[in-house]
Symmetry: C2
Subunit: 321 residues, 2 copies
Protein backbone atom coordinates (compact mmCIF):
# COMPACT_ATOMS: atom_id res chain seq x y z
CA UNK A 1 0.00 0.00 0.00
CA UNK A 2 1.47 3.31 -1.10
CA UNK A 3 0.60 6.66 0.44
CA UNK A 4 1.25 10.04 -1.11
CA UNK A 5 0.23 12.79 1.33
CA UNK A 6 -1.27 16.05 0.20
CA UNK A 7 1.88 18.02 1.15
CA UNK A 8 4.00 16.09 -1.40
CA UNK A 9 1.75 16.66 -4.41
CA UNK A 10 2.90 20.20 -5.25
CA UNK A 11 6.51 19.12 -5.71
CA UNK A 12 5.66 15.90 -7.50
CA UNK A 13 2.90 16.68 -9.94
CA UNK A 14 3.54 18.72 -13.03
CA UNK A 15 1.04 20.36 -15.35
CA UNK A 16 2.46 18.20 -18.14
CA UNK A 17 1.79 14.99 -16.22
CA UNK A 18 -1.74 16.13 -15.36
CA UNK A 19 -2.37 17.07 -18.98
CA UNK A 20 -1.12 13.73 -20.28
CA UNK A 21 -3.16 11.76 -17.72
CA UNK A 22 -6.40 13.64 -18.41
CA UNK A 23 -5.98 13.56 -22.20
CA UNK A 24 -5.38 9.83 -22.09
CA UNK A 25 -8.37 9.04 -19.90
CA UNK A 26 -10.71 11.24 -21.99
CA UNK A 27 -9.57 9.20 -24.99
CA UNK A 28 -10.17 5.93 -23.12
CA UNK A 29 -13.66 7.10 -22.12
CA UNK A 30 -14.54 7.91 -25.72
CA UNK A 31 -13.30 4.55 -26.98
CA UNK A 32 -15.31 2.71 -24.32
CA UNK A 33 -12.25 1.48 -22.42
CA UNK A 34 -12.93 3.60 -19.34
CA UNK A 35 -16.13 4.48 -17.57
CA UNK A 36 -17.32 6.40 -14.53
CA UNK A 37 -19.54 4.90 -11.85
CA UNK A 38 -22.71 6.61 -10.61
CA UNK A 39 -21.76 9.55 -8.41
CA UNK A 40 -22.78 9.53 -4.74
CA UNK A 41 -23.23 13.03 -3.32
CA UNK A 42 -24.91 13.58 0.02
CA UNK A 43 -25.75 16.59 2.17
CA UNK A 44 -24.89 14.79 5.41
CA UNK A 45 -26.60 17.21 7.77
CA UNK A 46 -23.43 18.01 9.71
CA UNK A 47 -21.27 21.13 9.26
CA UNK A 48 -23.36 21.88 6.13
CA UNK A 49 -21.06 19.42 4.38
CA UNK A 50 -21.54 17.76 1.00
CA UNK A 51 -19.79 14.39 0.92
CA UNK A 52 -19.58 11.66 -1.65
CA UNK A 53 -17.72 9.37 -4.00
CA UNK A 54 -16.73 9.58 -7.65
CA UNK A 55 -15.40 6.27 -8.89
CA UNK A 56 -14.50 4.65 -12.14
CA UNK A 57 -12.46 2.06 -13.97
CA UNK A 58 -10.05 2.57 -16.81
CA UNK A 59 -9.51 -0.78 -18.48
CA UNK A 60 -6.82 0.70 -20.71
CA UNK A 61 -4.75 2.19 -17.88
CA UNK A 62 -5.89 -0.45 -15.34
CA UNK A 63 -6.85 2.29 -12.92
CA UNK A 64 -9.66 1.45 -10.48
CA UNK A 65 -10.88 3.39 -7.48
CA UNK A 66 -12.57 6.50 -6.26
CA UNK A 67 -12.20 10.00 -4.98
CA UNK A 68 -13.99 10.46 -1.65
CA UNK A 69 -14.58 13.73 0.10
CA UNK A 70 -16.49 16.87 -0.54
CA UNK A 71 -17.17 20.40 0.54
CA UNK A 72 -16.96 21.55 4.16
CA UNK A 73 -17.96 25.24 3.96
CA UNK A 74 -16.88 26.09 7.52
CA UNK A 75 -13.38 24.63 7.32
CA UNK A 76 -11.50 27.79 6.49
CA UNK A 77 -13.22 30.06 8.96
CA UNK A 78 -13.40 27.57 11.84
CA UNK A 79 -10.20 25.62 11.38
CA UNK A 80 -7.93 27.26 8.83
CA UNK A 81 -8.38 24.26 6.51
CA UNK A 82 -9.43 24.48 2.88
CA UNK A 83 -13.12 23.86 2.30
CA UNK A 84 -12.77 21.28 -0.47
CA UNK A 85 -11.29 18.13 1.02
CA UNK A 86 -10.75 14.97 -0.92
CA UNK A 87 -8.69 11.81 -0.96
CA UNK A 88 -8.17 9.40 -3.85
CA UNK A 89 -8.03 5.65 -3.25
CA UNK A 90 -6.67 3.35 -5.94
CA UNK A 91 -7.34 -0.39 -6.04
CA UNK A 92 -5.58 -3.23 -7.83
CA UNK A 93 -8.06 -4.27 -10.54
CA UNK A 94 -6.57 -7.78 -10.60
CA UNK A 95 -7.24 -8.52 -6.92
CA UNK A 96 -9.51 -5.84 -5.41
CA UNK A 97 -6.90 -4.92 -2.81
CA UNK A 98 -6.33 -1.28 -1.85
CA UNK A 99 -3.19 -0.12 -3.65
CA UNK A 100 -2.67 3.59 -2.97
CA UNK A 101 -4.04 6.55 -1.06
CA UNK A 102 -3.33 10.01 -2.41
CA UNK A 103 -4.18 13.51 -1.17
CA UNK A 104 -6.79 14.82 -3.60
CA UNK A 105 -7.00 18.56 -2.97
CA UNK A 106 -4.32 19.95 -5.25
CA UNK A 107 -4.89 17.10 -7.72
CA UNK A 108 -8.51 18.20 -8.13
CA UNK A 109 -7.36 21.71 -9.04
CA UNK A 110 -4.76 20.35 -11.46
CA UNK A 111 -7.08 17.89 -13.19
CA UNK A 112 -9.73 20.59 -13.65
CA UNK A 113 -7.12 22.90 -15.15
CA UNK A 114 -5.85 20.06 -17.34
CA UNK A 115 -9.35 19.45 -18.71
CA UNK A 116 -9.80 22.95 -20.16
CA UNK A 117 -6.22 22.80 -21.33
CA UNK A 118 -6.85 19.53 -23.22
CA UNK A 119 -9.91 21.16 -24.79
CA UNK A 120 -7.81 24.13 -25.92
CA UNK A 121 -5.14 21.87 -27.41
CA UNK A 122 -7.73 19.99 -29.46
CA UNK A 123 -10.36 22.65 -30.22
CA UNK A 124 -8.91 26.18 -30.15
CA UNK A 125 -7.58 27.83 -33.30
CA UNK A 126 -3.84 27.34 -33.71
CA UNK A 127 -3.36 31.12 -34.06
CA UNK A 128 -5.25 32.07 -30.90
CA UNK A 129 -3.66 35.20 -29.38
CA UNK A 130 -6.03 36.54 -26.72
CA UNK A 131 -7.32 34.48 -23.82
CA UNK A 132 -10.31 35.73 -21.82
CA UNK A 133 -11.05 34.63 -18.28
CA UNK A 134 -14.46 34.81 -16.63
CA UNK A 135 -13.88 34.27 -12.95
CA UNK A 136 -10.76 35.18 -11.01
CA UNK A 137 -10.83 32.99 -7.92
CA UNK A 138 -8.30 30.44 -6.69
CA UNK A 139 -9.16 27.87 -9.37
CA UNK A 140 -9.01 30.47 -12.16
CA UNK A 141 -5.25 30.76 -11.61
CA UNK A 142 -4.84 27.03 -12.24
CA UNK A 143 -6.97 27.17 -15.39
CA UNK A 144 -5.07 30.16 -16.79
CA UNK A 145 -1.60 28.79 -16.02
CA UNK A 146 -2.39 25.51 -17.80
CA UNK A 147 -4.13 27.24 -20.72
CA UNK A 148 -1.21 29.58 -21.43
CA UNK A 149 0.95 26.56 -22.30
CA UNK A 150 -1.33 25.53 -25.17
CA UNK A 151 -1.02 28.42 -27.62
CA UNK A 152 1.26 31.44 -28.18
CA UNK A 153 -1.04 33.79 -26.34
CA UNK A 154 -0.08 37.46 -26.41
CA UNK A 155 -2.62 38.91 -24.00
CA UNK A 156 -4.88 37.95 -21.10
CA UNK A 157 -8.18 39.72 -20.53
CA UNK A 158 -10.48 39.04 -17.62
CA UNK A 159 -13.80 39.75 -15.97
CA UNK A 160 -14.94 38.94 -12.46
CA UNK A 161 -18.05 39.80 -10.46
CA UNK A 162 -15.73 41.23 -7.81
CA UNK A 163 -13.14 43.16 -9.83
CA UNK A 164 -10.71 43.39 -6.91
CA UNK A 165 -9.92 39.70 -7.43
CA UNK A 166 -8.68 40.25 -10.99
CA UNK A 167 -5.18 40.73 -9.56
CA UNK A 168 -5.10 36.90 -9.36
CA UNK A 169 -5.22 36.77 -13.15
CA UNK A 170 -2.81 39.65 -13.58
CA UNK A 171 -0.31 37.77 -11.42
CA UNK A 172 -0.47 34.63 -13.58
CA UNK A 173 -0.26 36.69 -16.78
CA UNK A 174 2.84 38.43 -15.37
CA UNK A 175 4.46 35.05 -14.61
CA UNK A 176 4.14 34.31 -18.32
CA UNK A 177 5.34 37.81 -19.29
CA UNK A 178 1.95 38.72 -20.73
CA UNK A 179 -0.09 41.91 -20.39
CA UNK A 180 -3.39 41.71 -18.55
CA UNK A 181 -6.46 43.87 -19.09
CA UNK A 182 -9.66 43.98 -17.03
CA UNK A 183 -12.58 44.12 -19.45
CA UNK A 184 -16.34 44.21 -19.45
CA UNK A 185 -18.22 41.26 -20.91
CA UNK A 186 -18.80 42.93 -24.30
CA UNK A 187 -15.05 43.18 -24.67
CA UNK A 188 -14.76 39.38 -24.44
CA UNK A 189 -15.34 39.54 -28.23
CA UNK A 190 -11.60 40.15 -28.48
CA UNK A 191 -10.83 36.72 -27.04
CA UNK A 192 -9.86 33.70 -29.16
CA UNK A 193 -10.21 31.41 -26.17
CA UNK A 194 -12.52 32.00 -23.17
CA UNK A 195 -12.48 30.01 -19.95
CA UNK A 196 -15.32 30.49 -17.49
CA UNK A 197 -14.62 29.25 -14.00
CA UNK A 198 -17.21 30.61 -11.58
CA UNK A 199 -19.81 29.20 -9.21
CA UNK A 200 -22.59 31.17 -10.90
CA UNK A 201 -26.25 30.15 -10.96
CA UNK A 202 -27.09 32.59 -13.80
CA UNK A 203 -25.72 33.03 -17.28
CA UNK A 204 -22.84 35.53 -17.30
CA UNK A 205 -21.66 35.46 -20.91
CA UNK A 206 -24.12 36.20 -23.73
CA UNK A 207 -23.98 34.44 -27.07
CA UNK A 208 -23.27 37.74 -28.88
CA UNK A 209 -20.27 38.43 -26.66
CA UNK A 210 -18.40 35.54 -28.28
CA UNK A 211 -16.76 36.10 -31.67
CA UNK A 212 -16.75 33.54 -34.49
CA UNK A 213 -13.78 31.19 -34.23
CA UNK A 214 -13.59 31.32 -30.44
CA UNK A 215 -13.12 28.28 -28.22
CA UNK A 216 -15.04 28.53 -24.94
CA UNK A 217 -14.34 26.21 -22.00
CA UNK A 218 -17.12 26.30 -19.39
CA UNK A 219 -15.55 24.80 -16.28
CA UNK A 220 -17.72 26.00 -13.41
CA UNK A 221 -21.02 24.17 -13.88
CA UNK A 222 -21.04 20.84 -12.09
CA UNK A 223 -24.43 20.85 -10.35
CA UNK A 224 -28.07 21.14 -11.28
CA UNK A 225 -28.95 24.83 -11.40
CA UNK A 226 -25.48 26.24 -11.98
CA UNK A 227 -24.97 28.19 -15.22
CA UNK A 228 -22.23 30.33 -16.76
CA UNK A 229 -23.31 31.10 -20.33
CA UNK A 230 -26.40 31.93 -22.37
CA UNK A 231 -27.98 28.68 -23.66
CA UNK A 232 -28.04 30.32 -27.13
CA UNK A 233 -24.25 30.07 -27.13
CA UNK A 234 -24.62 26.27 -27.08
CA UNK A 235 -26.88 26.55 -30.13
CA UNK A 236 -24.28 28.60 -32.02
CA UNK A 237 -21.36 26.44 -30.90
CA UNK A 238 -20.25 22.89 -31.52
CA UNK A 239 -20.49 21.43 -28.03
CA UNK A 240 -17.98 18.95 -26.55
CA UNK A 241 -17.75 17.54 -23.05
CA UNK A 242 -15.93 15.08 -20.82
CA UNK A 243 -19.03 12.94 -20.24
CA UNK A 244 -22.27 13.46 -22.12
CA UNK A 245 -24.56 12.12 -19.38
CA UNK A 246 -23.15 14.65 -16.90
CA UNK A 247 -23.06 17.48 -19.41
CA UNK A 248 -26.78 17.34 -20.11
CA UNK A 249 -27.83 16.76 -16.49
CA UNK A 250 -25.47 18.76 -14.26
CA UNK A 251 -23.17 20.50 -16.74
CA UNK A 252 -23.48 23.69 -18.75
CA UNK A 253 -25.54 21.90 -21.42
CA UNK A 254 -28.33 21.13 -18.91
CA UNK A 255 -30.08 24.43 -19.69
CA UNK A 256 -29.97 24.30 -23.50
CA UNK A 257 -31.13 20.67 -23.40
CA UNK A 258 -33.91 21.39 -20.87
CA UNK A 259 -35.12 24.26 -23.05
CA UNK A 260 -35.12 22.03 -26.12
CA UNK A 261 -32.52 24.21 -27.85
CA UNK A 262 -30.10 21.35 -28.37
CA UNK A 263 -30.38 17.58 -28.05
CA UNK A 264 -28.19 15.05 -26.29
CA UNK A 265 -26.88 14.03 -29.71
CA UNK A 266 -25.54 17.55 -30.21
CA UNK A 267 -23.04 17.04 -27.40
CA UNK A 268 -19.88 15.15 -28.39
CA UNK A 269 -17.09 13.67 -26.29
CA UNK A 270 -13.82 15.57 -26.31
CA UNK A 271 -12.18 12.14 -26.22
CA UNK A 272 -13.60 11.42 -29.68
CA UNK A 273 -11.68 14.44 -31.00
CA UNK A 274 -8.52 13.18 -29.30
CA UNK A 275 -9.13 9.76 -30.91
CA UNK A 276 -9.79 11.44 -34.30
CA UNK A 277 -13.23 9.84 -34.56
CA UNK A 278 -14.77 13.32 -34.36
CA UNK A 279 -13.23 16.08 -36.53
CA UNK A 280 -13.55 18.71 -33.78
CA UNK A 281 -12.82 22.16 -35.19
CA UNK A 282 -13.30 22.21 -38.98
CA UNK A 283 -13.22 25.94 -39.68
CA UNK A 284 -11.73 29.16 -38.32
CA UNK A 285 -15.21 30.66 -37.94
CA UNK A 286 -16.69 27.90 -35.86
CA UNK A 287 -17.32 28.44 -32.16
CA UNK A 288 -16.35 25.39 -30.11
CA UNK A 289 -17.52 24.96 -26.53
CA UNK A 290 -16.16 22.49 -24.00
CA UNK A 291 -18.48 21.68 -21.10
CA UNK A 292 -16.11 20.44 -18.39
CA UNK A 293 -18.20 18.75 -15.72
CA UNK A 294 -15.46 16.81 -13.91
CA UNK A 295 -15.44 13.03 -13.70
CA UNK A 296 -13.97 10.56 -11.24
CA UNK A 297 -11.71 9.04 -13.91
CA UNK A 298 -9.84 12.35 -14.15
CA UNK A 299 -9.07 12.13 -10.44
CA UNK A 300 -7.97 8.54 -10.71
CA UNK A 301 -5.78 9.30 -13.72
CA UNK A 302 -3.86 12.13 -12.06
CA UNK A 303 -3.61 10.17 -8.80
CA UNK A 304 -2.15 7.16 -10.62
CA UNK A 305 0.34 9.48 -12.34
CA UNK A 306 1.41 11.04 -9.05
CA UNK A 307 1.86 7.62 -7.43
CA UNK A 308 4.22 6.66 -10.25
CA UNK A 309 6.17 9.89 -9.79
CA UNK A 310 6.30 9.40 -6.02
CA UNK A 311 7.63 5.86 -6.40
CA UNK A 312 10.22 7.05 -8.93
CA UNK A 313 11.46 9.73 -6.55
CA UNK A 314 11.34 7.51 -3.47
CA UNK A 315 8.75 9.74 -1.78
CA UNK A 316 5.78 7.34 -1.56
CA UNK A 317 5.21 6.06 1.97
CA UNK A 318 4.95 2.28 1.91
CA UNK A 319 2.69 0.69 4.52
CA UNK A 320 2.39 -3.07 4.92
CA UNK A 321 -1.40 -3.14 4.80
CA UNK B 1 -4.29 9.22 9.57
CA UNK B 2 -4.52 5.84 11.28
CA UNK B 3 -4.09 2.53 9.53
CA UNK B 4 -5.18 -0.84 10.86
CA UNK B 5 -4.06 -3.59 8.46
CA UNK B 6 -6.11 -6.68 7.84
CA UNK B 7 -3.61 -8.92 9.68
CA UNK B 8 -4.22 -7.07 12.97
CA UNK B 9 -8.00 -7.36 12.99
CA UNK B 10 -8.24 -10.94 14.28
CA UNK B 11 -6.35 -10.14 17.47
CA UNK B 12 -8.04 -6.79 18.01
CA UNK B 13 -11.70 -7.28 17.28
CA UNK B 14 -13.92 -9.26 19.58
CA UNK B 15 -17.39 -10.61 18.91
CA UNK B 16 -18.58 -8.47 21.83
CA UNK B 17 -17.22 -5.30 20.27
CA UNK B 18 -18.74 -6.18 16.90
CA UNK B 19 -22.08 -6.95 18.56
CA UNK B 20 -22.09 -3.66 20.48
CA UNK B 21 -21.15 -1.63 17.39
CA UNK B 22 -23.78 -3.22 15.16
CA UNK B 23 -26.54 -3.05 17.79
CA UNK B 24 -25.80 0.63 18.36
CA UNK B 25 -25.81 1.57 14.69
CA UNK B 26 -29.04 -0.37 14.01
CA UNK B 27 -30.57 1.67 16.81
CA UNK B 28 -29.22 4.91 15.35
CA UNK B 29 -30.61 3.99 11.90
CA UNK B 30 -34.06 3.38 13.36
CA UNK B 31 -34.07 6.66 15.25
CA UNK B 32 -33.03 8.57 12.11
CA UNK B 33 -29.58 9.48 13.43
CA UNK B 34 -27.70 7.32 10.95
CA UNK B 35 -28.30 6.63 7.30
CA UNK B 36 -26.76 4.71 4.45
CA UNK B 37 -25.87 6.27 1.11
CA UNK B 38 -26.93 4.76 -2.22
CA UNK B 39 -24.84 1.68 -2.92
CA UNK B 40 -22.56 1.64 -5.96
CA UNK B 41 -21.96 -1.88 -7.30
CA UNK B 42 -20.39 -2.43 -10.70
CA UNK B 43 -19.41 -5.43 -12.78
CA UNK B 44 -16.19 -3.83 -14.01
CA UNK B 45 -15.54 -6.20 -16.90
CA UNK B 46 -12.16 -7.32 -15.59
CA UNK B 47 -11.44 -10.58 -13.72
CA UNK B 48 -15.24 -11.04 -13.49
CA UNK B 49 -15.05 -8.71 -10.52
CA UNK B 50 -17.88 -6.89 -8.78
CA UNK B 51 -16.64 -3.65 -7.22
CA UNK B 52 -18.32 -0.84 -5.39
CA UNK B 53 -18.89 1.39 -2.40
CA UNK B 54 -21.19 1.23 0.60
CA UNK B 55 -21.13 4.48 2.53
CA UNK B 56 -23.03 6.15 5.29
CA UNK B 57 -23.05 8.63 8.11
CA UNK B 58 -23.88 8.03 11.74
CA UNK B 59 -24.63 11.40 13.30
CA UNK B 60 -24.87 9.80 16.74
CA UNK B 61 -21.50 8.05 16.60
CA UNK B 62 -19.98 10.68 14.26
CA UNK B 63 -18.84 7.93 11.92
CA UNK B 64 -18.55 8.88 8.24
CA UNK B 65 -17.05 6.95 5.38
CA UNK B 66 -17.34 3.94 3.16
CA UNK B 67 -16.36 0.38 2.55
CA UNK B 68 -14.85 -0.08 -0.91
CA UNK B 69 -14.07 -3.37 -2.56
CA UNK B 70 -15.98 -6.33 -3.81
CA UNK B 71 -15.81 -9.83 -5.13
CA UNK B 72 -12.92 -11.14 -7.22
CA UNK B 73 -13.95 -14.73 -8.02
CA UNK B 74 -10.55 -15.79 -9.38
CA UNK B 75 -8.47 -14.60 -6.43
CA UNK B 76 -8.24 -17.86 -4.56
CA UNK B 77 -7.48 -20.08 -7.50
CA UNK B 78 -5.13 -17.72 -9.30
CA UNK B 79 -3.40 -15.98 -6.41
CA UNK B 80 -4.18 -17.69 -3.12
CA UNK B 81 -6.06 -14.58 -1.96
CA UNK B 82 -9.58 -14.56 -0.59
CA UNK B 83 -12.23 -13.65 -3.13
CA UNK B 84 -14.00 -11.00 -1.07
CA UNK B 85 -11.69 -8.02 -0.68
CA UNK B 86 -12.65 -4.84 1.05
CA UNK B 87 -11.21 -1.84 2.82
CA UNK B 88 -13.00 0.63 5.09
CA UNK B 89 -12.15 4.32 4.96
CA UNK B 90 -13.29 6.60 7.77
CA UNK B 91 -13.48 10.37 7.44
CA UNK B 92 -13.62 13.15 10.03
CA UNK B 93 -17.19 14.48 9.76
CA UNK B 94 -16.07 17.85 11.11
CA UNK B 95 -13.50 18.50 8.36
CA UNK B 96 -13.87 15.96 5.54
CA UNK B 97 -10.30 14.75 5.99
CA UNK B 98 -9.49 11.05 5.73
CA UNK B 99 -9.08 9.70 9.26
CA UNK B 100 -8.53 5.95 9.13
CA UNK B 101 -8.05 3.04 6.77
CA UNK B 102 -8.97 -0.41 8.02
CA UNK B 103 -8.76 -3.87 6.46
CA UNK B 104 -12.36 -4.88 5.83
CA UNK B 105 -12.28 -8.62 5.11
CA UNK B 106 -12.58 -10.13 8.58
CA UNK B 107 -14.66 -7.16 9.73
CA UNK B 108 -17.25 -7.96 7.06
CA UNK B 109 -17.54 -11.51 8.38
CA UNK B 110 -17.79 -10.28 11.97
CA UNK B 111 -20.38 -7.59 11.28
CA UNK B 112 -22.53 -10.05 9.34
CA UNK B 113 -22.33 -12.51 12.22
CA UNK B 114 -23.10 -9.71 14.67
CA UNK B 115 -26.25 -8.76 12.74
CA UNK B 116 -27.94 -12.16 13.11
CA UNK B 117 -26.69 -12.25 16.66
CA UNK B 118 -28.34 -8.90 17.45
CA UNK B 119 -31.55 -10.21 15.89
CA UNK B 120 -31.41 -13.31 18.12
CA UNK B 121 -30.82 -11.22 21.24
CA UNK B 122 -33.87 -9.08 20.49
CA UNK B 123 -36.25 -11.49 18.76
CA UNK B 124 -35.59 -15.12 19.70
CA UNK B 125 -37.42 -16.78 22.58
CA UNK B 126 -35.47 -16.58 25.82
CA UNK B 127 -35.75 -20.38 26.25
CA UNK B 128 -34.42 -21.26 22.79
CA UNK B 129 -32.51 -24.57 23.01
CA UNK B 130 -31.93 -25.79 19.47
CA UNK B 131 -30.23 -23.73 16.77
CA UNK B 132 -30.53 -24.80 13.15
CA UNK B 133 -28.08 -23.76 10.45
CA UNK B 134 -28.84 -23.73 6.74
CA UNK B 135 -25.51 -23.35 5.00
CA UNK B 136 -22.17 -24.57 6.27
CA UNK B 137 -19.58 -22.49 4.45
CA UNK B 138 -16.89 -20.22 5.82
CA UNK B 139 -19.33 -17.50 6.88
CA UNK B 140 -21.67 -20.00 8.58
CA UNK B 141 -18.99 -20.60 11.22
CA UNK B 142 -18.95 -16.90 12.08
CA UNK B 143 -22.76 -16.76 12.29
CA UNK B 144 -22.95 -19.84 14.52
CA UNK B 145 -20.16 -18.79 16.87
CA UNK B 146 -21.79 -15.40 17.46
CA UNK B 147 -25.29 -16.88 17.76
CA UNK B 148 -24.29 -19.43 20.41
CA UNK B 149 -23.46 -16.56 22.79
CA UNK B 150 -27.02 -15.25 22.75
CA UNK B 151 -29.00 -18.10 24.35
CA UNK B 152 -28.30 -21.26 26.37
CA UNK B 153 -28.39 -23.47 23.32
CA UNK B 154 -28.16 -27.20 23.95
CA UNK B 155 -27.89 -28.53 20.43
CA UNK B 156 -26.86 -27.48 16.91
CA UNK B 157 -28.53 -28.99 13.87
CA UNK B 158 -27.54 -28.22 10.31
CA UNK B 159 -28.29 -28.73 6.64
CA UNK B 160 -26.12 -27.93 3.65
CA UNK B 161 -26.46 -28.61 -0.07
CA UNK B 162 -23.05 -30.31 0.11
CA UNK B 163 -23.25 -32.38 3.31
CA UNK B 164 -19.50 -32.91 3.47
CA UNK B 165 -19.16 -29.28 4.58
CA UNK B 166 -21.27 -29.81 7.70
CA UNK B 167 -18.06 -30.60 9.59
CA UNK B 168 -17.58 -26.80 9.68
CA UNK B 169 -20.66 -26.53 11.90
CA UNK B 170 -19.76 -29.58 13.94
CA UNK B 171 -16.40 -27.99 14.70
CA UNK B 172 -17.97 -24.77 16.03
CA UNK B 173 -20.54 -26.75 18.05
CA UNK B 174 -17.71 -28.77 19.57
CA UNK B 175 -15.86 -25.58 20.55
CA UNK B 176 -18.94 -24.69 22.59
CA UNK B 177 -19.27 -28.24 23.95
CA UNK B 178 -22.52 -28.82 22.09
CA UNK B 179 -23.73 -31.84 20.12
CA UNK B 180 -24.23 -31.44 16.38
CA UNK B 181 -26.65 -33.31 14.17
CA UNK B 182 -26.95 -33.24 10.38
CA UNK B 183 -30.65 -33.04 9.52
CA UNK B 184 -32.93 -32.84 6.53
CA UNK B 185 -34.98 -29.70 6.04
CA UNK B 186 -38.16 -31.19 7.55
CA UNK B 187 -36.23 -31.74 10.75
CA UNK B 188 -35.58 -27.99 11.01
CA UNK B 189 -38.95 -27.99 12.82
CA UNK B 190 -36.95 -28.89 15.93
CA UNK B 191 -35.07 -25.56 15.83
CA UNK B 192 -35.95 -22.58 18.01
CA UNK B 193 -33.60 -20.36 16.02
CA UNK B 194 -32.66 -20.86 12.37
CA UNK B 195 -29.91 -19.00 10.53
CA UNK B 196 -29.71 -19.32 6.76
CA UNK B 197 -26.40 -18.26 5.26
CA UNK B 198 -26.14 -19.50 1.69
CA UNK B 199 -25.72 -17.97 -1.75
CA UNK B 200 -28.88 -19.64 -3.02
CA UNK B 201 -31.04 -18.34 -5.86
CA UNK B 202 -33.99 -20.60 -4.92
CA UNK B 203 -35.97 -21.02 -1.74
CA UNK B 204 -34.44 -23.75 0.43
CA UNK B 205 -36.60 -23.65 3.56
CA UNK B 206 -40.37 -24.09 3.27
CA UNK B 207 -42.82 -22.24 5.49
CA UNK B 208 -44.10 -25.54 6.99
CA UNK B 209 -40.58 -26.53 8.00
CA UNK B 210 -40.52 -23.75 10.61
CA UNK B 211 -42.28 -24.32 13.93
CA UNK B 212 -44.31 -21.68 15.77
CA UNK B 213 -42.14 -19.59 18.08
CA UNK B 214 -39.02 -19.86 15.93
CA UNK B 215 -36.75 -16.96 15.09
CA UNK B 216 -35.31 -17.15 11.58
CA UNK B 217 -32.37 -14.99 10.46
CA UNK B 218 -31.96 -14.94 6.67
CA UNK B 219 -28.44 -13.69 6.11
CA UNK B 220 -27.55 -14.80 2.60
CA UNK B 221 -29.77 -12.72 0.34
CA UNK B 222 -28.10 -9.44 -0.62
CA UNK B 223 -28.74 -9.24 -4.37
CA UNK B 224 -31.70 -9.21 -6.72
CA UNK B 225 -32.60 -12.80 -7.50
CA UNK B 226 -31.08 -14.46 -4.46
CA UNK B 227 -33.49 -16.34 -2.18
CA UNK B 228 -33.25 -18.64 0.85
CA UNK B 229 -36.79 -19.20 2.11
CA UNK B 230 -40.34 -19.71 0.84
CA UNK B 231 -42.07 -16.31 0.51
CA UNK B 232 -44.98 -17.81 2.48
CA UNK B 233 -42.70 -17.86 5.52
CA UNK B 234 -42.59 -14.05 5.35
CA UNK B 235 -46.40 -14.03 5.39
CA UNK B 236 -46.49 -16.23 8.51
CA UNK B 237 -43.69 -14.35 10.25
CA UNK B 238 -43.24 -10.89 11.67
CA UNK B 239 -40.50 -9.53 9.44
CA UNK B 240 -37.64 -7.31 10.63
CA UNK B 241 -34.61 -6.05 8.78
CA UNK B 242 -31.55 -3.83 8.98
CA UNK B 243 -32.78 -1.45 6.25
CA UNK B 244 -36.27 -1.65 4.79
CA UNK B 245 -35.35 -0.22 1.37
CA UNK B 246 -32.72 -2.94 0.88
CA UNK B 247 -34.88 -5.69 2.35
CA UNK B 248 -37.66 -5.21 -0.19
CA UNK B 249 -35.37 -4.68 -3.18
CA UNK B 250 -32.32 -6.93 -2.74
CA UNK B 251 -33.04 -8.77 0.52
CA UNK B 252 -35.08 -11.85 1.35
CA UNK B 253 -38.31 -9.81 1.39
CA UNK B 254 -37.91 -8.90 -2.31
CA UNK B 255 -39.83 -12.03 -3.37
CA UNK B 256 -42.78 -11.77 -0.98
CA UNK B 257 -43.13 -8.07 -1.81
CA UNK B 258 -42.84 -8.64 -5.57
CA UNK B 259 -45.51 -11.34 -5.35
CA UNK B 260 -47.80 -9.02 -3.40
CA UNK B 261 -47.78 -11.34 -0.38
CA UNK B 262 -46.54 -8.66 2.00
CA UNK B 263 -46.16 -4.90 1.74
CA UNK B 264 -43.24 -2.61 2.53
CA UNK B 265 -45.12 -1.58 5.68
CA UNK B 266 -44.98 -5.19 6.90
CA UNK B 267 -41.19 -4.98 7.22
CA UNK B 268 -39.95 -3.32 10.41
CA UNK B 269 -36.49 -2.13 11.41
CA UNK B 270 -34.68 -4.29 13.96
CA UNK B 271 -33.37 -1.02 15.36
CA UNK B 272 -36.91 -0.06 16.35
CA UNK B 273 -37.05 -3.18 18.53
CA UNK B 274 -33.69 -2.23 20.08
CA UNK B 275 -35.09 1.27 20.72
CA UNK B 276 -38.30 -0.23 22.17
CA UNK B 277 -40.46 1.65 19.67
CA UNK B 278 -41.49 -1.71 18.18
CA UNK B 279 -42.49 -4.50 20.59
CA UNK B 280 -40.69 -7.18 18.56
CA UNK B 281 -41.64 -10.65 19.82
CA UNK B 282 -44.93 -10.53 21.74
CA UNK B 283 -45.73 -14.23 22.05
CA UNK B 284 -44.01 -17.60 22.26
CA UNK B 285 -45.91 -18.83 19.19
CA UNK B 286 -44.93 -16.02 16.89
CA UNK B 287 -42.41 -16.63 14.12
CA UNK B 288 -39.98 -13.73 13.79
CA UNK B 289 -37.79 -13.34 10.73
CA UNK B 290 -34.78 -11.07 10.37
CA UNK B 291 -33.80 -10.18 6.83
CA UNK B 292 -30.12 -9.23 7.13
CA UNK B 293 -29.13 -7.46 3.93
CA UNK B 294 -25.91 -5.84 5.09
CA UNK B 295 -25.46 -2.08 5.15
CA UNK B 296 -22.44 0.19 4.93
CA UNK B 297 -23.07 1.61 8.39
CA UNK B 298 -22.38 -1.82 9.90
CA UNK B 299 -18.95 -1.80 8.28
CA UNK B 300 -18.23 1.72 9.45
CA UNK B 301 -19.36 0.89 12.98
CA UNK B 302 -17.09 -2.14 13.40
CA UNK B 303 -14.21 -0.33 11.68
CA UNK B 304 -14.55 2.63 14.07
CA UNK B 305 -14.58 0.20 17.00
CA UNK B 306 -11.45 -1.56 15.79
CA UNK B 307 -9.63 1.74 15.29
CA UNK B 308 -10.38 2.64 18.92
CA UNK B 309 -9.07 -0.75 20.06
CA UNK B 310 -5.96 -0.41 17.89
CA UNK B 311 -5.20 3.02 19.30
CA UNK B 312 -5.73 1.75 22.85
CA UNK B 313 -3.30 -1.11 22.28
CA UNK B 314 -0.75 1.00 20.39
CA UNK B 315 -1.16 -1.08 17.24
CA UNK B 316 -2.59 1.52 14.84
CA UNK B 317 -0.04 2.71 12.28
CA UNK B 318 0.05 6.49 12.24
CA UNK B 319 0.88 8.15 8.94
CA UNK B 320 1.29 11.91 8.59
CA UNK B 321 -1.10 12.27 5.66
Amino acid sequence: MLIVPEREIADLMTRDAAFAAVEKVFAAMASGKAYNFPVVREAIGHEDALYGFKGGFDRAGLTLGLKAGGYWPNNLEKRGLINHQSTVFLFDPDTGKAKAMVGGNLLTALRTAAASSVSIRHLARKDAKVIGMIGAGHQAKFQLRAALEQRDFEKVIGWNLHPEMLSNLEEVAAEAGLPFEAVDLDEMRAADVIISITSSFDAILNADQVSPGTHVACMGTDTKGKQEVDPQLLVKADVFTDEVAQSISIGEAQHAVAQGLIAEADVAQLGAVINCTNPGRISDDQITLFDGTGVGLQDLAVAAAVVDLAVEKGIAIEVDF
